[in-house]
Amino acid sequence: MPEFSLQQALNLALRHACEDDDRVLIFGEDVGTLGGVFRVTDGLRDKFGEHRVFDTPLAESAIMGMAVGLAMAGWRPVPEIQFDGFSYPAIDQIVNQVARMHYRSRGVLSMPITLRLPSFGGIKAPEHHGESLEALFAHVPGLKVVSPSTPGEGYHLLRQAIADPDPVIFLEPKSRYWHRETFDPTEAVEQLPVGTSRIVRPGRHATLVAWGAMVARCLQAAELAAEDGVELEVLDLRWLKPIDAAGLAESVARTRRAVVVHEAPLTAGLGAEVSALITERCFAGLRAPVQRVTGFDVPYPSGALEDEYLPSIDRILTAVQTTLEYRRG
């Protein structure tokens, strides 16, 4: 089986999507000639031509507005916004237009748009290059939100997102772009439905819930915990909207304890939703309140402080210990 980095797997997914459906269009800042600042669109312009894969002027709102118009004209747009923090200028188009055109038109107009958004931190980048916007997007009716944790997931989820008839925000964990893994993209894998999570490590003492780059970190924490005899289940949420409430409940019903881990600041982060969902569904069996291990309520800091900001293995294991030692009153 061939080995792929996440960046290569995404590139392949885009290539296959363009081959399978000639209505797929790829555009954004520097995605054409340059192949994207992360090279995710590398080679696609040469292969599919400058009509299918093209550079735009530097304006994120227009990129998304153009996607709306293209979708109305029957195309399947796959725009890129170069970095998480630069999707803010496009939020109006995303929330007020992309997410609602299907609703507004009572289902007459489809918006099969996949916004690719290099996301999250961990690469000691400049300001605005390390943001986590999943809570914002997940709150918006009409959007779907997904983030892959591995190259294989990246390939299949991106294909699924592009094939989906609704707008999907595809959050690429940029700190994992160069992480390699073997998988066979030609192999027909059983595609989990949109909105399904995946247990990436079974365990019975507590469930760690994560997505994007935090999945790998949780797996590391789980390995360390295993050395002490603590068996942690790691659940890759994958879809952040719709959220797999049933999957969360199934896991925590077994483990009776949960820790949710994300990079975004604590307050009003998606961890709150995960915590509320688990508590609503598992309250009777829950042995401890759901713990949240997250970024702090501060702007995403400069490289010098990044490691302190991001959920560390230590902080994850401290939360695990807290939940395991929790005694009701």
Binding site: A59, S61, A62, G65, G69, L70, M72, G195
Partner: protein, 311 residues
Amino acid sequence: MLVARRLDDEAIALQRQGVLPAYAPAKGQEAAQVGSAAALDLGRDFAFPCYRELGVAVAMGVDLAGYLATHLNLWHGGLYDPLASRLAPFNAVVGGPVTHAVGWAMGAKLDDTGGAAITYFGDGASSQGDVHEAMNFAGVYRLPVIFFCQNNGWAISVPTADQVAGGSVAARAAGYGIEGVRVDGNDVTAVFEATRAALDRARDGGGPTVIEAMTYRLGPHSTSDDPGRYRTLDDERAWAGRDPLLRAANQLTAEEVAAAEEHAATVVSRVRDDLLALGAPPAEELFSFVYREPTAALLEQQRAWKESLDA
């Protein structure tokens, strides 16, 4: 044009009678709206309205009760079919749909349909960043799109002089290397000609055009607005004298005008009946159209909502 005026009058009346909760009158802008929309080829063109485009809907033959359904608070985007009628859904974000027209025009160009997009927006909307981004994109890609600005003198209470630096939206076009024309927006023939010329240019690969139609909102911004707070009666009267309908009527015989009035009355009465016959959407539709297929969370919320109704 007369249909648009009479239907506009009727909508205001319906609002006063408490039938329509609110309405945004188009009075005074009929020549700009009808003249431009009449130039479109509905077989291949597509129009992107804001929220004050009754005349466009009339000229395009859109289901008018469906169009007015927005103001009846039935459905935000209206109840007409945007694909069949070639008119995008009613859009309340000032400047919001302008980039959509650019995207649509790119799609039409890629498909080589010969179709062009026209996007309607106001003098106020011209201040929005999106309008600039749209013009720049259209200029870079040389897309078949018409930026049709109805400069009606006001953005709610703010006059054009305090809104549009330099005073002319059409003059902005030169900065993007695209055509810009200003036209007497109360002269329906002039508007029609300018739009047709822009459409021809668009179809010939000549790229986008900005048309600034100089007109005047004779009524209030909306039925809850009080223009007396920000403009004088004299100003309104001066423009009332330039009413596009009077101008058009002057070109017609008394018989023609009478026939037009009769036709308008028939249409208005039919649309009125259709409108009043429109029921509120069934309450279950609260959960519809969010996605192609409802999510598990939505189905669960719908079930809980139904239970609370039955409780």
